[in-house]
Amino acid sequence: MTTVPTGTPKRRDISPPSTGGPAPTGRRPMTASRRANRAGLAFVSPTFLVVLVVVVLPILWTVLLAFQDAKLVDIQGMSLLGNWSLDNFTQVFDSAGFWSSLNTTLIYTAGSTAGSVLLGLIAALALRTPFRGRGLLRAAMLLPYVAPVVAVAFVWEVALSPQYGIINNWGQRFFGWDDPLAFLSTRSYEVDFLGLHFGIPLALLTVIAFEIWRYFPFAFLFILARLQAVPDGLEEAALVDGATPTQRFRHILLPQLMPVIALLCVLRFILTFNKFDDVYLLTGGGAGTDLAAIRVYDFLTSRYDVGAAAAQALVLAISLMILLGLYFKFFGNKVQEES
């Protein structure tokens, strides 16, 4: 350990034995707690400093930037409190595609979250009891989660390619597809089904599938850990009572798993809502996958419009907070109770 926090508590801090008269009661615990207090602050300060400098201050600055007309070129000479205006926000709200991108982000996030948690749950249930090779499969199942996003995005891109991808090749060979499907560049795939004609947002569904595939191992890990902590007695009792597997799941396991599932949903929702790289690498934000996070990146890099990028990022963060606020207002108490 090289970070010696400044103001390391000294042992000399112990209050000198009080002389004369009965010691005031409660003095000793007071000083002990004060020492713990001081040591706690000392230990936490390096961490706090890092978080303050690299996270809190930048976030505050984003808020400032969002209200300023800031282009990257003239940011050098800009004072911290330049000209305030709401131009960036009007620009963000008025720009074509803002609302649709927010909408896309919501669908993408909700679909990916629900899908990855559900698949994680199914996987955890299937791998719950031991079988030969379970350890190996469990480790292999974490591959999508630990592998670098750039690498797996390219594998998907190649596999889904209409020209040389294995999916289209097999689809045409074994499933009788008429034409190769351009999974990652089809905004709307027209289908006729039972006389109905409608479009499927193919590219969006594909990136959602990718996200589910990539993050279900995360849910799987947490749910499996919780499953293994369920007391055996509970299920044995239900078994003796003649409960079927679905009944046992519905009435014994699910209530036990609910808190961790709720936590996973919130966590995955937050992380997916802000996701940038997965979709950017797969589609570049085209074909109906224009997520809000990708728009922030576009503002920043293609137009060097720092102010608009900050405003857009802020709008994104605030939307997320509103959603989370709503969630905790309606479900928060329940989650709190159960945890």
């Binding site: 300060s45 690299v54 974490l142 630990v146 079927t244 690498l281």
Partner: protein, 294 residues
């Protein structure tokens, strides 16, 4: 009568889920392993073989080639893609991030798990709240600050950004482990005359070694795999590209064949997967510790 019906239902369900379970297991094995097999497979054949038969799941002996790897790893001076250099860059950034993150996170995690101090609840809430902020929100100001400081194209700057991304999770993981170390051990050390700092260094840290390793591994994984900040900060500086960025840039070049791209993907994936398999149990336990109580 009803009793019998219930029994057959239980039997039916037992049988049905017994079969379904194996279907699910097979499905999971296919979707998780096949993409990686496909990646390695494509990296081992020349592009013509891929275009000729896109649906094949193996490589014939006459097609087998390692030229793709040679092309990817060779330095740009000798006509390759220079991934050797990118690998070194990635390793430097990731190891630096692990070191800095642990230095910043260990004291904090200790304080939050052990010491009752003013604002403890707020501090742990803050660390978690930080985790909730979007990387894109951080990207804007950091991009500007780094441009100002002239750090925008340095590996060190990148490592600092990664620390910000990884400190909250690290504190969370370490904290969960530290709370399981009995307090009496610390009291014993204190009785023997250790100061608080000595106790942490000589007693707590050795005991927390598995958790430190798990956290370090997780941080390494995040830093090695990261793409957005590398793209923002280093895109103009080919000498400091990480492997992720190098691969993404490589894919933009039209003259690079897909099989070479797959070789690059394998090169990018192998270090982190090897590390992961070496310490899989450690990592999963570190990540999920506390989940069973949640």
């Amino acid at each position: 009568m009803t009793r019998k019906a219930a029994l057959t239902r239980a039997q039916f369900e037992d049988r049905f889920f017994g079969v379904l379970r194996w279907v699910v297991i097979a499905f999971l094995a296919v979707i998780t392993v096949l993409p990686f097999y496909y990646m390695v497979l494509l990296s081992l054949k020349p592009i013509d073989a891929l275009l000729l038969d896109p649906g094949s799941l193996w490589v014939s002996a006459k097609d087998f080639t390692l030229a793709t790897y040679r092309d990817v790893l060779k330095s740009t001076d000798s006509g390759g893609q220079g991934f050797m250099k990118f690998l070194i860059n990635s390793a430097l950034v990731s190891l630096g991030t692990v070191l800095l993150t642990l230095l910043a996170a260990v004291p904090g995690a200790y304080a939050v798990s052990r010491l009752k101090f003013f604002g403890r609840r707020q501090v742990s809430a803050l660390f978690l709240a930080v985790y909730m902020f979007p990387a894109t929100l951080l990207a804007v100001p950091l991009f500007v600050i780094f441009a100002k400081l002239g750090l925008s194209s340095s590996l060190f700057g990148l490592a600092v950004v990664y620390v910000a991304q990884t400190v909250p999770v690290s504190i969370y993981m370490l904290k969960n482990y530290l709370t399981t170390i009995p307090y009496s051990i610390e009291e014993a050390a204190a009785l023997d005359g250790c100061s608080r700092l000595q106790t942490v260094r000589k007693v707590i840290l050795p005991l927390a070694l598995p958790s430190l390793m798990a956290t370090g591994l997780y941080v390494f994984m995040i830093a090695w795999n990261e793409f957005l900040f590398a793209l923002l900060f280093l895109a103009a500086e080919p000498d400091s590209w990480t492997v992720s960025l190098g691969l993404a840039q490589l894919s933009n070049g039209i003259e690079v064949s897909k099989t070479v791209l797959m070789a690059g993907s394998v090169v990018l994936t192998i270090p982190v997967v090897l590390l992961f398999f070496a310490a899989e149990r450690l990592l999963t336990e570190g990540l999920t510790s506390g989940a069973d109580k949640s």
